[in-house]
Symmetry: C2
Subunit: 258 residues, 2 copies
């Protein structure tokens, strides 16, 4: 059974998509077979992995509402060992449609249960939209754990408690096995005291649940989506790419302690 | 009748809340009476204007789902001429509750229609969440115009066409008077080519609908929410505060050409 990780945070622009794309790429570079699911109607993860618009006819919406199986809709990306389920335009209407659908919070979980015994994936990474609505709930119910990117800014820190309450609620009512995989500090800016304050606050409150690896603010990261590539492929030696490579190694150590 | 402006963009973290708070403050500093409505369950606009958690018992949720009038729930902020309708915790459940509510897209518009003839406001500014769901739709249906903060990043530029399509759809089906108020470039970083590329692309495509005023990336802006103050009050002489003061002046020129 694959290790299913939802990358979630209702605060916008904290680095969810950047983390999902680059963690998935770094894991696949170590030989793991990874499936990335774009659960955000914006389709940024699909773009960041270079999936052309015309290839997004069926994907996550078909999985959630048409009963498609992952095999039917997964695309091979140009990154070896990494497949993608893209976000098609219909996904924008899914939140409202799901409200009156049977097992509305379990649709993604039920779809992934169809993976069957002969699939190649050791990890499934889910990129969630910036909300705590039915799409993100589907991600949290389908997942074994939640990876939370935490931007080193005040508004982002303020929102963490709301997210933790939601994770607890999902664990109690919908997915008892759900756990916090970890918190990753993102867009850390050495020149800005605020970054240090947020990092200290987060470590003080969450302790070792905060990853040692910190993702620095790095221009090469923000440039890479316009080239349709993860930063690891766009500029391997950049501080941003190297941080995501370390993050993947730290995640593997946490998930499979030697 | 007040000029109702929705600050919206489904892309997360582009500066919607920062723009709503600081534009509202700058407008009130010119003598305009302003009402700011926090339509985002995250409650960042409420925090950024220093509204304590204990004062958020009733607000936007009561407006949308309990039939409260703006007068019942508006709070006086510590900024002269600026009142706030805060986001209470219940707002997090509003998106799902609205789906089966009568006139679900018109709830905010109907509530603001109760302002009556003797209210003091010349502007109402609505801070929208990072999605195109029923909360943002309520903002777009209630508004006369939409102000779109555009972060100078690739993913943000990619999402603009989806937002424009939604504005057109709302205009056709729900609010024929809705127009694009303008596009404001945010977090512009002089050291980063990407900012210039995004700015050139946006001006090429949208022409004069893009504001001349550009909001620079400025550390004082990201520090100000932790002090519960708009940057204009936190550090009046900073480049960020001065940019928002210019933005308010440019908005007044566009709305009331001499
Ligand atoms: N470490 C970093 N350094 C510099 N830029 C970054 C970094 N991480 C992300 N970015 C940029 O910041 C913006 C926000 O990141 P991203 O889109 O990944 O966040 P998100 O949480 O997925 O946003 P949303 O809430 O809209 O889904 C993007 O333009 C991205 O390229
Ligand atoms: N010009 C700027 N310079 C530096 N930091 C900024 C600037 N504008 C906004 N910020 C910071 O960037 C982060 C994102 O801004 P903000 O929260 O206003 O965006 P938003 O679009 O409202 O986000 P959301 O999609 O979550 O509602 C915040 O931490 C804010 O303090
Ligand atoms: Mg994203
Ligand atoms: Mg906001």
């Amino acid at each position: 059974k694959p290790n299913i990780v939802a990358v979630a945070n209702q605060k916008g622009g904290v680095g969810k998509t950047t983390t999902a794309i680059n963690l998935a790429t770094a894991l696949s570079a170590t030989g793991e077979h990874v499936l990335l699911i774009d659960l955000d109607p914006q389709g940024n993860a699909s773009t960041g992995l270079g999936v052309p618009r015309e290839d997004r006819a069926t994907g996550t919406y078909a999985l959630l509402l048409d009963g498609a199986s992952p095999k039917d809709v997964a695309l091979t990306s140009f990154v070896p060992n990494l497949d993608v389920i893209a976000a098609e335009p219909d996904l924008a209407g899914a939140e409202i449609e799901l409200v009156s659908t049977e097992r509305r919070e379990y649709r993604l979980r039920d779809a992934l249960a169809q993976l069957g015994p002969d699939h190649p994936y050791s990890f499934v990474i889910i990129d969630c939209p910036p909300s705590l609505g039915l799409l993100t709930l589907n991600g949290l119910v389908a997942a074994d754990s939640v990876l939370v990117p935490l931007q080193c800014e005040f508004f982002a820190l303020e929102g963490i408690s709301q997210l933790m309450r939601t994770i607890e609620r999902v664990k109690r009512a919908l997915n008892p096995a759900l756990r916090l995989q970890g918190i990753v500090l993102t867009m850390f800016d050495r020149r800005n005291n605020l970054s240090d304050l947020v990092a200290a606050d987060a470590r003080g409150f969450f302790g070792t649940q905060v990853y040692d690896t910190v993702i620095p603010r790095n221009i090469r990261i923000s440039e890479s989506p316009s080239h349709g590539k993860p930063v690891i492929l766009y500029d391997f030696r950049s501080p941003g790419a190297q941080a995501y490579i370390r993050l993947a190694q730290e995640l593997l150590q946490r998930e499979r302690p030697q």
